[in-house]
Symmetry: C2
């Protein structure tokens, strides 16, 4: 009988630790503001003891599997990227062991995908495997965020992926650019958001691209054509609509065709569901704990649960 | 005989005051860090005395003409935008008088252009008139900057214009985003700049748009494919190349066809000349003091010099 697994989704700014039983059920979760950038070099072992010490004491020898920026240059150990396309079996074979005071911690490598330039991810590969397990026939997975990822998958294999800097652009433009000056309040105005999505989706090259359209975030409120309370929502919609236009063009997705499966937190997923509907792609959503599911699947494939 | 003109190019962050003689020659220039945002409400009259008091004492009653953000909501008086298309005569008729302790100051209205959304400018209309006077047959003027302007002109009339937020995006991404972290040094690497321009110009939609391509600014140095000293230049090139692709598509400009006339400062103009050459558009450059020339032209058309 399996002893279960301790799964770590260890990102830049936060850590989620999952205690998973032998049947793959998450029986306890710890969320901590102990992301890679918040931990001193050499301090990862202590953080592991802090969040999972009791679980380790309860089940000595339980396997530990970690995914995310923990495998980056700023993390515990830099684990080389694995290459796309890649099947779950190959990813499981590339797990990287780190000896620690509490036994080995296995780290999932991130992925690199060569194209016009190299694209990279760390952590999303594990979420995708978890989501694929629930949606085995889906052709595209979409993980919105600071660096949004679009991921074509076939027969369980991650074919390639493309990153879009949508979330980061929203944050820096809102906080540091002239576009933030006429903004008032949160990005929670659904009508203004939809208007921005429409502006971003517009396929007419005569309407310019993103560098031009961003100026509408300034001129619409300046000309009293958008209330200040709607400006943040409009900017969010414009950026997400632009991402959809770029990604659909790049991946060959069409209105009315197969829609991506969304993987992520509630608020952001709701925003993308609304935008995708306006683009003619009624998306479905993966279970919220895709990372825990992916960690369990990978551990099983790697033979760590036996 | 004309008494000449005091011309003010009064922008957001700086003020240039020109003493111009009756033949249109600039005989003295004062540059001051007295932009609209640096002057308290009610303080514009005092700044005028500070930079041009001696000129006014020398030539009582000399006309004063000001262009730029001085006519905005944050300026001396908010002057309503004039509408495109517009000929010099109509712009001259729309000059807005402000009574002051030193006689009337005339303010040039900015322009609004209606399209998918309203586009606006203040100050550039005057630089364009100055540049058109030297390049009467040119079809497009390009004023690079924080908010880059592309301006089709026919028979001396400003037909329309489009703004691109290239310079502002460069500044916020460099200073505040993850893309700035792997940057080292200035944006002065010509080869890295050219590489970025090529990435921005790439017409292949399969290569994604700007939101995707921006991620190359992170991954190329991360994968040791671009030295840290070249990253700022590469980002600059990528943004300018993207602007060129957007604007050429939007305005119907083609490699080998008529090229825009550049209006602006040396360093930025040199950068755009290099990028336009890579796009197949060998640009020419307007005289550096286009604002002063435009102020003199406008004053003449308005009958202020008589």
């Amino acid at each position: 009988v399996s002893r279960g697994l301790i799964g770590l989704d260890w990102g830049t700014s936060s850590l989620r630790a999952y205690r998973i039983d032998g049947d793959g059920r998450v029986i306890e979760t710890v969320m901590a503001a102990r992301g890679v950038l918040q931990v001193e070099p050499g301090g990862f072992d202590a953080v592991l003891a802090e969040v999972a010490g009791r679980w380790l004491a309860d089940a000595p020898g339980v396997p530990i599997l970690a995914a995310g920026m923990i495998g980056s240059r700023q993390g515990w150990v830099e684990v080389p990227y694995a290459r796309c396309p890649i099947a779950p079996q190959a990813l499981a074979e590339a797990l990287h062991p780190v000896p620690t005071a509490r036994g080995r911690v296995w780290i999932v490598p991130g992925l690199v995908c060569e194209g016009a330039f190299p694209d990279v991810l760390r952590g999303e590969e594990t979420q995708i495997l978890g989501a694929v397990h629930e949606h085995p026939t889906a052709g595209t997975f979409l993980l919105p965020g600071t660096h949004s990822k679009w991921v074509p998958v076939r027969d369980g294999r991650i074919e390639r992926f493309a990153t879009f800097m949508t979330g980061e652009l929203f944050a820096v433009l809102r906080q540091h650019s002239i576009l933030g000056r006429l903004m008032d309040g949160e990005a929670d105005d659904a009508a203004a958001f939809a208007r921005g999505v429409g502006q971003g989706l517009d396929p007419d090259p005569g309407a310019g691209g993103l560098l031009h359209r961003l100026f509408s975030v300034r001129t619409l409120p300046l000309r009293d054509l958008l209330p200040p309370a709607g400006v943040a929502s409009y900017l969010s919609g414009l950026l997400i609509g632009s991402e959809l236009r770029e990604a659909m063009g790049s991946l060959g997705l069409h209105p009315g065709g197969p829609a991506p499966v969304l993987v992520g937190g509630d608020a952001l997923v709701a925003r993308y569901v609304a935008a995708l509907a306006l683009a003619g792609l009624p998306a479905t959503r993966a279970p919220a704990d895709a990372a825990a599911r992916g960690l369990y699947q990978l551990a099983g494939t790697a033979g760590l649960l036996a």
